[in-house]
């Protein structure tokens, strides 16, 4: 069975590498936005989390959150990382250089939440069409009763 890593351990390991700011919680580690690419690279290359399970996002009252689920095929363990970004500056570094699969999922997050992944090779809408106005999974998105996009 896949087991979860010990998040206190993980947070202190990351802190040892990159300094303060990695906050462990019961079932995830919160990573400072600027460090997510480095932290993910470290987890992939040094800690053996070779598989990116998924990238998704959530819209909270005062911030966005991007959620990464990493997995180690070798040790059969999984780890959850979360990154916060402010609503008025929704920029998060892309992981598409580390895992090609992140590219599509980051585009989906961009499409539906409007979070921009910096250094993404091809950041454009994926589920909706070019020219769609708004980001429909944001809480403040007002869908129109008759499906019009504007």
């Amino acid at each position: 069975m896949t087991t979860s890593v010990d998040y206190n351990d993980l947070a202190s390991q990351l802190q040892g590498q990159f300094g303060q700011g990695f906050t462990p919680a019961e079932d995830y580690v919160e990573v400072p936005c600027a460090f997510i690419a480095k932290a993910a690279e470290y987890m992939k290359n040094t800690l053996g989390f070779d598989y990116l399970g998924m990238v998704t996002a959530a819209d909270y009252a005062d911030h966005f959150e991007v959620i990464y689920q990493l997995q180690s095929i070798k040790t059969n363990s999984s780890a959850l990382l979360k990154v916060r970004c402010p609503k008025d500056k929704p920029f998060v570094p892309s992981l598409a250089n580390l895992w090609l699969g992140a590219s599509l999922q980051e585009r989906e997050v961009y499409d539906l939440f409007g979070i921009e992944f910096t250094e993404h090779p091809h950041l454009k809408r994926i589920v909706l069409w070019d020219g769609f106005k708004g980001y429909p999974l944001r809480k403040d998105f007002k869908g129109k009763a008759y499906g019009a996009s504007d």
Partner: protein, 194 residues
């Protein structure tokens, strides 16, 4: 034993007997060999109107185009396979090409991203053609009617002949809808445009 040859008188008598017998049996002419045609024509030729004949042909050979968008499709698949068997209505020939189809079964949720393709398929079908809106999504968008990505009813994209409610409609309901469409087709006329 020696056989006596017929006498001349005997030969004459036999000849005349034969002629008399044939004459007696031939008092009436034999019917012409093609007289059976009358009978066959009586059984096989009927008079009707062009409308009735055309509508009969059209309504008994509706060919649906293979273009389905969401879960209602599975009820259509159920209706088209052995248990409900739309082959009974001459409909089992699902066409992969819209050029050969005359019925669009709008089964399922239609997203705005898919809508251009459905419109294109419908436009490519040759006249006369019909469309059935199957299920809540096809009628009005269903539970997704105010979604940012869903067309609130196929009738925003193509003209619909019959609406079949349900989420999804069971095959019996679909068959009832097909029956309704057949009744509708039976009333069409070549004299006025559909």
């Amino acid at each position: 034993m020696e056989i006596e040859p017929f006498t001349a008188a005997e030969i004459e008598r036999r000849e005349s007997d034969g002629i008399e017998a044939l004459r007696a049996a031939s008092q009436h002419p034999i019917p012409d060999p093609d007289s059976w045609l009358d009978e066959e024509i009586k059984r096989n030729v009927m008079f009707t109107t062009v409308d009735a004949a055309l509508n009969w042909a059209r309504k008994t050979s509706l060919w649906p185009v293979t273009a389905f968008t969401a879960c209602c499709t599975f009820e259509f698949i159920g209706a088209s396979s052995a248990r409900f068997d739309i082959a009974r209505f001459g409909m089992e020939v699902l066409r992969a090409s819209p050029r050969q189809a005359d019925l669009l079964v709008c089964a399922g949720t239609l997203t705005w991203k898919m809508a251009p393709q459905i419109k294109r398929l419908y436009d490519q079908m040759a006249e006369p053609k019909w469309a059935i809106a199957m299920g809540a999504c096809a009628i009005s968008g269903g539970i997704f009617c105010d979604s940012y990505s869903v067309v609130p009813g196929y009738n925003h994209i193509v003209p619909i002949d019959v609406y079949i409610p349900g989420c999804p409609p069971r095959p019996e309901t679909l068959l009832a809808g097909i029956e309704a469409l057949r009744r509708k087709i039976a009333k069409e006329s070549i004299r006025k445009p559909k």
